[in-house]
């Protein structure tokens, strides 16, 4: 009995210390607990990303769950060209963008208006002011103000700023996730940051009074 529980515990430790790719391989070989371990490892970062991008908690959780459902069904399509986390963020990013398009369609922002311009730099330029920050999620006023400012910049900038400055991903990973050239990634992040600085100027003076 004790030996069995010891074995179970050691398997659990192995799962916790295993790499993402190993967990995925074990899951594909039939170990469902490996999938749960992967989900526990990434559910919070993915939910954070989708919430910061979409701005609505319920939609963010829904998209995050759908991301893991896709992982469950299509995990076999991971070929290892990129890191597992990059691949997972790519799924979440695509789903979040689709959700945002759907939301805009439902709420009257025409797709032609929002997505008609083919130029990479200027697509998604229309800021998304329809979502309101969820005050139950961001309990502090600073976090609410930052989230509100994030939602005020265009989704193409927001997506990359969140991936870089909130999720701490590298430029290379962001380029893969968003399927965008590296130069475009950098310029969008810089523009997004510049817009945020303008929007958060009053907060700067409040949080960092010695700045002036």
């Amino acid at each position: 009995m004790a030996r069995a529980s010891l074995k179970t515990e050691s398997v659990q430790v192995a799962r916790n210390s295993a790499s993402d790719e190993d967990l995925l391989r074990w899951f594909l070989e039939g170990d469902e607990a490996a999938f749960v371990a992967l989900m526990r490892r990434y559910k919070e970062p993915i939910t954070t990303y989708t919430y910061r991008f979409l701005g609505n908690y319920d939609d963010a959780v829904d998209v995050a769950q759908e991301t893991f459902v896709r992982l469950y069904r299509f995990g076999h399509s991971f070929v290892g060209e990129v890191k597992f986390s990059t691949w997972l963020y790519t799924i979440a990013s695509n789903l979040a963008r689709t959700e945002l398009k759907r939301y805009r369609r439902r709420n009257g922002v025409s797709l032609s208006e929002a997505f008609s311009i083919g130029d990479d730099e200027s697509s998604w330029e229309i800021p998304d002011e329809t979502y309101l920050p969820d005050e139950l999620v961001d309990s502090t006023r600073i976090a609410q103000d930052v989230q509100k400012a994030l939602l005020s910049i265009s989704p193409s900038y927001r997506e990359m700023v969140v991936l870089r400055d909130v999720q701490q991903l590298t430029y290379e990973e962001i380029a893969v996730i968003t399927n965008t050239e590296m130069g475009t990634v950098k310029s969008r992040i810089n523009r997004g940051r510049a817009q945020l600085q303008v929007l958060l100027r009053s907060l700067y003076n409040e949080v960092f009074p010695s700045q002036e």
């Binding site: 749960v36 989900m39 526990r40 559910k43 919070e44 970062p45 939910t47 954070t48 919430y51 910061r52 908690y57 963010a60 959780v61 995050a64 769950q65 759908e66 893991f68 459902v69 469950y72 069904r73 999620v137 961001d138 309990s139 502090t140 600073i142 976090a143 930052v146 989230q147 700023v161 969140v162 400055d165 909130v166 701490q168 940051r193 510049a194 945020l196 600085q197 958060l200 907060l203 700067y204 949080v207 960092f208 700045q211």
Partner: protein
């Protein structure tokens, strides 16, 4: 002594650092407690649905094919039926004589009218028959 010029940071250096520190300090978003259960339920449900749909479709296929095979409609063979009065074979060189009947349609008309009608009919010798002729 270094001759390389000092590198000046951009003007927005400090404000960008402040912004990035604000963004980094945003709290993580915790998913609800039911997150994992819902994911597993959603991920596994379609497999069962597919299995059930496949089973139902297979049953319908088997039953319908059984029904079709056992209730095959009887084929009706259409055979040309021989005409009742027509002779089975005709000997063109030994045709039976046909009785000549007098045309009595105009017997009540005066002779002058009958002659005029006869002249009209004779005036159109190439008039086509009112029925089709094979080959023409």
């Amino acid at each position: 002594m270094s001759t390389l010029p000092p590198i000046n940071p951009p003007e927005d250096f400090e404000s960008t650092v402040l912004l990035r520190s604000l963004l980094t300090s945003l709290p993580s978003i915790s998913p609800p407690d039911t997150f994992e259960t819902q994911v597993l339920r959603s991920a596994q449900r379609p497999r069962w649905t597919i299995k059930i749909v496949a089973a139902v479709a297979g049953t319908i296929l088997v039953v319908s094919s059984f029904y079709i095979l056992n209730n095959e409609p009887k084929l009706v063979v259409v055979k040309p039926s021989a005409s009742v009065d027509a002779p089975q074979s005709v000997d063109l060189y030994n045709l039976a004589p046909v009785a000549v009947m007098q045309d009595t349609r105009y017997k009540d008309l005066p002779p002058a009218v009958i002659h005029r009608l006869a002249a009209k009919i004779k005036a159109k010798p190439n008039m086509r028959a009112p029925y089709g002729v094979a080959g023409y």
